[in-house]
Symmetry: C3
Subunit: 329 residues, 3 copies
Amino acid sequence: MQLTAQEIAALLGGKVDGDPAAAVSSFARIENGKPGQLCFYANPKYESYVYTSKASVLLVNDDFKPSGAVSATLVRVPDAYAALARLMNWTAARGRTSRAHRGRCRIAWSARLGKKVWVGDYVVIGARCRIGDRTRIMGNVTIGEGTTIGSDCIIYPGVQIFPGMVIGDRVILHAGCIIGDDGFGNAKQPDGSWQKIEHLGNVIIGNDVEIGSNTTVDRAPMESTIIEDGVRIDNLCQIAHGVVVGKNTAMASQCGIAGSARIGEGSILAGQVGVNGHISIAPGTVVGGKSAVIGNVRKPGTTIYGNPAIDHATYLRAYALFKKAAEEN
Amino acid sequence: MQLTAQEIAALLGGKVDGDPAAAVSSFARIENGKPGQLCFYANPKYESYVYTSKASVLLVNDDFKPSGAVSATLVRVPDAYAALARLMNWTAARGRTSRAHRGRCRIAWSARLGKKVWVGDYVVIGARCRIGDRTRIMGNVTIGEGTTIGSDCIIYPGVQIFPGMVIGDRVILHAGCIIGDDGFGNAKQPDGSWQKIEHLGNVIIGNDVEIGSNTTVDRAPMESTIIEDGVRIDNLCQIAHGVVVGKNTAMASQCGIAGSARIGEGSILAGQVGVNGHISIAPGTVVGGKSAVIGNVRKPGTTIYGNPAIDHATYLRAYALFKKAAEEN
Amino acid sequence: MQLTAQEIAALLGGKVDGDPAAAVSSFARIENGKPGQLCFYANPKYESYVYTSKASVLLVNDDFKPSGAVSATLVRVPDAYAALARLMNWTAARGRTSRAHRGRCRIAWSARLGKKVWVGDYVVIGARCRIGDRTRIMGNVTIGEGTTIGSDCIIYPGVQIFPGMVIGDRVILHAGCIIGDDGFGNAKQPDGSWQKIEHLGNVIIGNDVEIGSNTTVDRAPMESTIIEDGVRIDNLCQIAHGVVVGKNTAMASQCGIAGSARIGEGSILAGQVGVNGHISIAPGTVVGGKSAVIGNVRKPGTTIYGNPAIDHATYLRAYALFKKAAEEN
């Protein structure tokens, strides 16, 4: 990629303030910018770097008034951070192929692949699968029989998808994630051993969902584990059998959601949160890092923290007293 | 699968109460049951659904007396939940192949496979491996040389098994789990760097064990990491070098057991528990979610909770006081 | 392997005290040693086993004076534990091949492999990759285009490496780890949905690094996620986009480091620790198990614990008071 300030302004609907021919070929943070790089400035905390940056182009907000000399060419846009994101997405999209491809792979005769589907090496696609247009499936992926995957999806290397799953459009399954393995269902027997409960259900993933690397999503014993539209799940999370993750919920790394829990729409779970089985979390709940949610959260928009999780401010105040007691003794 | 109430009753040793020809082809929860589906009812909390359910067949306990009109055909059994589990297991078993199969795979000449072993695509089986009868190995699995796997096992896609491991009968290794990688052994050097400690031992897994998706079980430096008979380990757990997990212990998702810890028989660890290295946990210990066990647990059958873990009731009482102090200040 | 006490003493620069022809072929812990095995003794806690051990050879410290009869041949060395580690490393190294090998794999024409590179089955190596001498790549690994890997590395089965990564010499990537997947970057939109932030950066891994099984290391949005020389990361850890892990830092299993955090050189993180995004941890920080570090740690060499993490001794004292309050009420 090589873009001039002029081209960038045109792409982003911005205005050039400086040399329109200033050219960049990569991105950097403002504190590290070098000639040939584009940086952005939005947070006033970093203003001093605007005047020392060696970057060739600087994306800034419309209303930014420099208080000193700036060597970079400015491209002014209404929202510099959003504009940067758009430019990065545009760059990433340009780097993507959109053509049919078959590596050394094993595709069942009865599987039906859409237009421009890209299939990497050592991929297995089972009988009666349906794969939508322009979906790309990277190396060493296994897709079980009867699974349906929508259009414009990306299935990264090492993903394993079980039979009978249903996956929407524009879904990204990151490397090594597992979709649809058995839930952890065991009935204790009188002799102390465990009887396995078989899982005959599946996983249904909506549109515009991302599931992180090495995350595991178990299928339901009957019916479905459901990941609704727009959900973002980070790496190494566990979504157990029969869970419902509501629309647009975001979950940071290493969260664990136990069986049949329901997470309301638009919730945000910080890293390493645990949620007990069979409970319901109201829409818009925010859960602090490492908290354990052990009961229903009934009021929408609550922020909670702790093990077990309680009101966020209460937890922090209690913790301050807990610490103070030790310091005074 | 299509089964009539009569056939179900025969399979489960139950009695039909209603139309013996009522037919079902899938399972559902009682609140969602539709015509052609089988539901079960055991928990009185859900009784109202018995009268509104559209399911064709309802598994109920022998002694259930409806207090209103029921449209479903009832199949009465001594224990409805256990009967459901048996019926699901029977259904799952019917869907399984039991025949020899070789995909596009790489099996060393000196490996010895039993009868009706199923090997999927892109599987590597190393020299001198022994695989028991009817074991099924799914796609993209690697099995290192000299490893022994028993009969009637299922090795799901993406599992990686290192050389020299010993795995019993009827073991299920879920997708992406890693058996026998190096333990995390490092000796600090005077210059601050770490000297790697090589691991020459292995992992021994007993009979009737399940290891969850993307779980990692490290091999011992010398001797063996041991997972005893009947153990159930959920997804994304870490079992470090030299650990012994006692018979029939169950461990929920994302637990981490540090090096050389010993977990007593029949223990139950809730999700995200951590256990320190070199400690012993008595048989029948129950550890609450997200707890950290940092010392020996000597008394069998104790329930503990917290970081560090203490008596469960004490933790909850202490936590209530912790919260109350903040609310009063 | 079959070694006599004499040969062992020669290898380790030690002295034989007993039968120089005593031979061993495997290692065991002192409490379990059998004829034909080598054990070591360093910790006085285990002295009684010296007199009951059936092992053929016992590695001991130079200055050890037995207080009873010992049946094993002793090999005396300045530091028995370090000598054992050296002997195990020597044994492990002997078992390794160092020769060129190509399994059934897919190597792009433009990839350049060094001398004696070993490539297993079902491996994909993308265009323009560079792989250094004697590096071994096990089965079912995918390496994206333009990635550079140094010499004498081991890439275990099921590892997935994204395009454009830079990996040093003598690096070990354990089974199933993911290097360079997208970071978790999402910008909230007015309608509650998330706009994906593309990640155009990479991951740079120094020399002598180990990354554990099923650990995930995300690439930076721009610039690089950096793992410096000598770092040791255990299994199932999450290293987010733009993180810097300082030289010789060791991180136990299931830690999660959020985006753009910086971990100072020589730090030690116990298992299941969480570190917030955008914070800095001073060199030599020690973080207790399951702690959450939510702010900068400015003083080098501090030991911290808790959620949120505070001074280690303060936390333990506060926790004792927390517990006592419950016991007294």
